[in-house]
Amino acid sequence: MKTHKLFESNSHTWLMFGRDDEKPNEIIDTNQYIVISNKNALLMDPGGIELFSAMLSAVIKQLPAEKITHLFASHQDPDIISSLGLWDQALPSATLHSPWIWESFIKHFGMNHISYAAIPDEGSSLKIDQVTLDFIPAHYLHSSGNFNVYDSDAKILMSGDIGAALESVDAPLFVEDFDEHICKMKMFHQRWMPSNEAKNDWVNRVRKLDVEMMCPQHGRIFKGDNVKRFLDWFEALEVGVIAKSTTEA
């Protein structure tokens, strides 16, 4: 699994883990992100069971395990948090921040030690050392209880499944040609995202944020002008549709 530094300042660092060339072919490649502050760290969407060893191996090269005091799961999907039962043994004192509606579902992955901090629908903030991270509502994009993580200092938005693309493990980290990238993410957004209303509401809110990097959970990161291009494209996209060929019978 590769590790890439996205941001560094005196107060904190953003790292991305992903492009795991040892993962089984049948499982989707995922990006994991971590914010490391002075004494604590927040690991976001830590991934599925199949990724746990690779993920912990990558993390442990960067910081001691006990420094990861917070976990975040944007929603309840297995590729996001099915490794919880193993993190529960590795980080028994940690706190998991996740949508309130998924608490009793996510605990099915096994959670005997970690504490669950339920994020209310309107979102909330987490302060780790000097860093404030905002849990931004992204409901129905795609899960019915869903959040992004925004860091106004680093100008990074961890956007979960928004902006995700299905790609090979050797794909570049950043979107280079936005127009070429559209074909890799169009079907994913149309099929997985059910609500135009929720989507447009999110676009309007995110336009007001200062975002230098938008980091999805699958595929490539959007940087600079490509963030704005993505918002324009996403706003115009009709979602909640299924390919016509599968519905016309």
């Binding site: 746990f52 060893s53 690779a54 912990l56 191996s57 990558a58 442990i60 090269k61 960067q62 910081l63 001691p64 395990a65 006990e66 420094k67 039962g85 193993l86 043994q89 590795a90 980080l91 028994p92 096994g110």
Partner: protein, 203 residues
Amino acid sequence: MSDLSHNYFVSVAEIAAKLDQATHIAQQLSLTASNARAVALRAGERAAGFRPLTDFIDRLAEITIKSSRNINKLAAALSQTSADKERADSAISHFNVVFVKAKDSAYIHSLDEVFSRCQRKQQQLNQSYKRQIFRLSDELAMLSSELRNAVILATLSRVEASQAGVQYQDALINVADNVEGAASKIKDHIHYSQQMVSILEEY
């Protein structure tokens, strides 16, 4: 390694299911005892020898139900321990991969405490697993031995049924058949469970 030992926690769940069936059959045996008493009562003096046997059938049903329920509880607890053990084993193997992959990491020792705790948990579960297997094995052997009486009971019931006259003979023979049939079915389940348990003991 056989498939059975490989999926030991599935096997334990299967044992629990088998023994749950045994409890249901034991409940049918209890119905048979009530039925036997009613027939013996109607047959009057001609079934005088049969009446004490109904008490034995009742006692056999009672012991079987109680024991089956107990075994079922033990098997359910064992099933939970097995699932926990599988999870602990899985965590240990995941950590072992990390110790190889990140062996040169400056922070690899930050996992030592966590790993020791997982190992302790694994040892505790292994001990519980062995203790529960032993108790289950013991309880199965006890019930199996009780059920040997069912054959004797069925034979005696047939002898007494033949004295009860044509009118009640068939009904009482049917009681004897039911006792023997139920005991035989329960014994099959116990035998199967004992075989499974003996394989699990080696795990």
